[in-house]
Symmetry: C2
Subunit: 747 residues, 2 copies
Amino acid sequence: MIKKLFSVLAGLLFISVNAAAQKIMGFSDMSAAKQIEWEKKYDALLNAKNQDAWMNFLTSHPHHVGSPQDKANAEYMAGLFRSWGYQTELATYDVLFPTPKIRVLELLGAKPYKAKLEESTLKEDKTSGQKTEQLPSYNAYSADGDVTAELVFVNRGIPADYEELERMGISVKGKIVIAKYGGSWRGIKPKVAAEHGAIGCIIYSDPEDDGYTRGDVYPEGAFKPKDGVQRGSVMDMPVYPGDPLTPGIAATKDAKRLNRNDAITIMKIPVLPISYEDALPLLQSLKGPVVPMSWNGSLPITYHTGPSKEKVHLKLQFNWDIKTIYNVIAKLAGSELPDEWIIRGNHHDGWVNGASDPISGMVAELDEAKAIGELVKKGFKLKRTVVYCAWDGEEQGLLGSTEWAEDHQEELRKKAVAYINTDGNSRGFLGAAGSHTLEPFFNEIASEVIDPQTGVSIKERRYASDFVNADKSARLKLAGNKNIKLGALGAGSDWSGFLQFLGITSLNLGFGGEGQGGEYHSIYDSYDHFTKFKDPGFQYGVTLSKTAGRITMRLANAEILPFDVNSFYKTVTEYVDELKTLLTTTRTETEQENKMIQDKLYVLAADPTKGFQTPKAKETVPFLNFSNLENAMIDLKTSTEEFQKMYKDAAQLTPEKQNALNEILFKVERSLINEAGLPKRSWYKHQVYAPGYYTGYGVKTLPGIREAIEQRNWKEAQENIEIVSKTMDAYSSEVKKAKSIIEKKAF
Amino acid sequence: MIKKLFSVLAGLLFISVNAAAQKIMGFSDMSAAKQIEWEKKYDALLNAKNQDAWMNFLTSHPHHVGSPQDKANAEYMAGLFRSWGYQTELATYDVLFPTPKIRVLELLGAKPYKAKLEESTLKEDKTSGQKTEQLPSYNAYSADGDVTAELVFVNRGIPADYEELERMGISVKGKIVIAKYGGSWRGIKPKVAAEHGAIGCIIYSDPEDDGYTRGDVYPEGAFKPKDGVQRGSVMDMPVYPGDPLTPGIAATKDAKRLNRNDAITIMKIPVLPISYEDALPLLQSLKGPVVPMSWNGSLPITYHTGPSKEKVHLKLQFNWDIKTIYNVIAKLAGSELPDEWIIRGNHHDGWVNGASDPISGMVAELDEAKAIGELVKKGFKLKRTVVYCAWDGEEQGLLGSTEWAEDHQEELRKKAVAYINTDGNSRGFLGAAGSHTLEPFFNEIASEVIDPQTGVSIKERRYASDFVNADKSARLKLAGNKNIKLGALGAGSDWSGFLQFLGITSLNLGFGGEGQGGEYHSIYDSYDHFTKFKDPGFQYGVTLSKTAGRITMRLANAEILPFDVNSFYKTVTEYVDELKTLLTTTRTETEQENKMIQDKLYVLAADPTKGFQTPKAKETVPFLNFSNLENAMIDLKTSTEEFQKMYKDAAQLTPEKQNALNEILFKVERSLINEAGLPKRSWYKHQVYAPGYYTGYGVKTLPGIREAIEQRNWKEAQENIEIVSKTMDAYSSEVKKAKSIIEKKAF
């Protein structure tokens, strides 16, 4: 499901973490040497051919929730894990899973058109013809509906697009909207459309985004053919992910379920995704103004906003079934600290045959688990427990991981040290996002793993790419600073239950940027497509196994957990600066905008023959009191700097003291949880990282404050400044406890 | 021919010139009051209906050089000028004017395609069916040729595009290139292609630039239909404009002409412009890498660089005829200073029916001349002579204006006070470029003329547009500063002979930005198109007459010419700063680029499966000695500031002293002429303004220095710094002479 991983930019901080061959973070020199020896053996056990064979099997039939292959895959992987020595179970839940019963989309009037809603079988793609097994193209958690209305084109369908439409004098009230994919999590489009009074929503893939404009189309090239459709969930996931009927609790057989009408993450209007072939006649029917230049796609037409003269009829009905999902949970118990868990996950369900998304990441995880299992059989000791997970139902809204995290929330709060996620993987550059306490540790590993195409480290190669693709001013900042700045996690894959609901330190990683494609969530995300265009020979599958496996094994065996709380401070203080700048900029721009309205500049600049509407003047932006937060940040700076200075002394603590220190360290992320949750969405409890309420995939850092400012809710912004101040105080307090353990010098 | 006028940005300087009703620059209070009275009468005489009727007649048949209508239009306008009291003549020259004899373009191989090269007759456009009279679509001054080769797509065909191709490992040597229109003067494309070894050049109009992506196509909308073709000259005009056989001298009957093979402004390879319908099969034949994202147009295909597998055959033969061109020169003699000329020009020839380009500007000029003629009959006195010109042969390379300027060069050096140019005009915003001594004067007039759609001044409306369309940082600079910063003149219409060859203070102006179209240089630039999409009702035709007429009459009658030499200084000092920054930036970027090459960052960032070529390291950028120029600029600052402080005292000089002062003022621009000309192009003699050698339309200010730096010719850059220093000294010296006339206070 991940889409935005590789837009993450390397950043500003430089932390010297290049370990000499023998030094690794959190290990004494002696244990480091041993660990490194085992890692070499680990690398030798990884096998691209296995990854290939597993992918071939796991993608041999459509394997969405409810399909025979979905269950068969779970059972097959459970068998593999067991054979490698893992204590394995299938953790099942029963979730609301709608599938289409009726799908009708037609343009009425003089030149009628009935949408095909069907992807073609290709002789070059061996699984593309499995018609009876494929889920049809649809958006899961669309409303049922039968609507007929004029059509309006809303660009990406995000709030800024509606502001632009308003200036052009176009309303969507009572209309069906058509939006391009991209620019946000797809669920934002119908949500915002419904907020503006639309009664239906069509989403299409413009060829500019993943079709012929990007490259030759499948099967000649990797990109979306004319009838390819991106399926996908439109659940309102920024409110809560997981089963819509059981927010915050596990969807067990006898769970207390909401009435479907009360499940607010189900869309209020019917939504349907279509191909660009089906979109063309609809877009051609639009009248009204020509769209702003930046709204154009690359279909050979003039894009108009609409409304259309002829009406569009959209009829959708779904089977609102409860289906069983199958998570595979495979544990290898720690020899010393079995109640400290390193959790490693990737989902296994696909929208159809799902090779790139998610099996490419899944097979890298399998290879990793197999190699670790074999090492253990050869005498490798894991201090902590590793938990390998294969999630089901990710595609519909992180169903499997969320229900499991909700189910085991008490245990996880106690035991979870970190959660490491992967998902689709392909040829190219390392991308990563996650809790910033992990940044130096992650960089250390990135500097040790070798890129299979160039022979330099994956960190060197990522730096080269960042630098070459940076603009001139960004290059000045980057020059010589090879530290990979971790991105912050919004939504997009299975970390949400761990990070944002429970406060478990999390990391998501993968390779990409050179694997090409427009196959995403279509029947063409297949073994044939993947092995031709994404990662031929599974070189990057093996490289992902090397990277994620090292992370897992070092977290499992570190004497002192390789967490850097000062790295966390340095990142959050940047976020605080951003927010202060945001408030100032919002104030300046509001003043300027209001003056422009008052001076009639918009009216004078507008073409009077067009129906331009002057924007309305906005309320003046007040000054907010950041002092408590600023004071909390000073305290956080001091405590984290002092702690990190002492970090290496912790190696000399007694094992008992080390364990006490470790427990504080891995639980320090829990202090970022506020049980009341964020405004309008209590499920999201993390005060630093959340998906944007109006972006979905896109993260909002310090979301309580940031979104309140963005939405001009000054009271809420001030309240959230106070909440975040207290959160930072709580974090500092944990850091001070950790520090006092070292200070007592009871070595 | 003008394309870039409305991209001119309002700028940085603020000069307070808002005259109270009675104060106008260069006039005593008493004479200002009179002048303003006459201007009111002038406005009342302007008549949109006449402009409409004249356009209807002048565009009734194709009126390119050599056509019966071209001559008939010249004679018709000469008759009008005579009837309005002007002493009128037809100034004729005999110029090389190639027209097509054979045009063949075909794709060979398995899926052959023969290009149509024909625009359709439309029932909605009454002149579009005049097939036998229309010039076929072609590029004037293409070479004859018959070539067959693989095709390569070169984006816009400018030098940067070839650098990109080189990095992709693609050569055009021995190939035919296909380039998109836009991004440069069209003649740059075959010139640069030939420099890189290409043997033929095809130029097409991508629908992203002026076709369906911009709006509905003609006749439903204003934009280019699928078979519309942009004709145009590909003369190497940045070397010299005018008749290719008579550089620097007039193309009279018995002029000494170059042999055609020695005329370096004629292209070396065959060039043909085509429609996007004809381009589509050619582009579809291309193999090789997918183009960089920014190269994509909006045809529904994957754009590849090529080369094509199948070959393309291009055969062009031309009639290399000498044709007569007809300039109309109409004078109204000055009552006091008949040997001081205000020259006002617009061309009258079109590529086909040429309504927008150039008749929209021509009819505004006619209306202006008619009104002034009538005022004179009513007793209005012109102190200086006004010369109204209607140029022929502009489209092929400023033929008429250049030959006339070359013919009358001695007289013009003595008498020409200023040259005011217009060309195509449409609904929208005032745009202007020219000699910066005119900037305050121009702003004064712009603040007095009222915009017909909004009722505010054309200056206020331009400011509103600039401000609303500026980005945030540009708004900070603009805020409250309503001064219209004049653009600098490169190439594009008939000022070159006056400004860049002779050093005559020049100004070009027009309205645009709301008139829509893709009709440029096609058969669809017609009366029907213009009156529907460009300026229905000729409101902006009349507004142009008001603006240009005021400029002409005030220049004709000013007691002290309204030139501001300090405004010139302020602009040039910005150019000098730009050059110093350019050199520093070039140095820093060269160092960075060389380090990137040395560090192998390009190799590491590249996809190893593609044929990426690392760029070559570049020579280090030396420091240059700017001190002479810096000292010259200080002297220029002082002298011009002192002069402008005294400017108003000049009103008290005796008429004889005023005339002596005026002569220095209008000749001060001549001191910017260096008779040796610019490097590689001696015809261009102006040291401040020239068209770019590799941009054409786009201006290069301080071109001798700027282009030497851009082309990394450090010796030439240093030499040109010294030349420009001396030029600025010469300018200062004239300013000091002017100052001494006032200082002597012999009032």
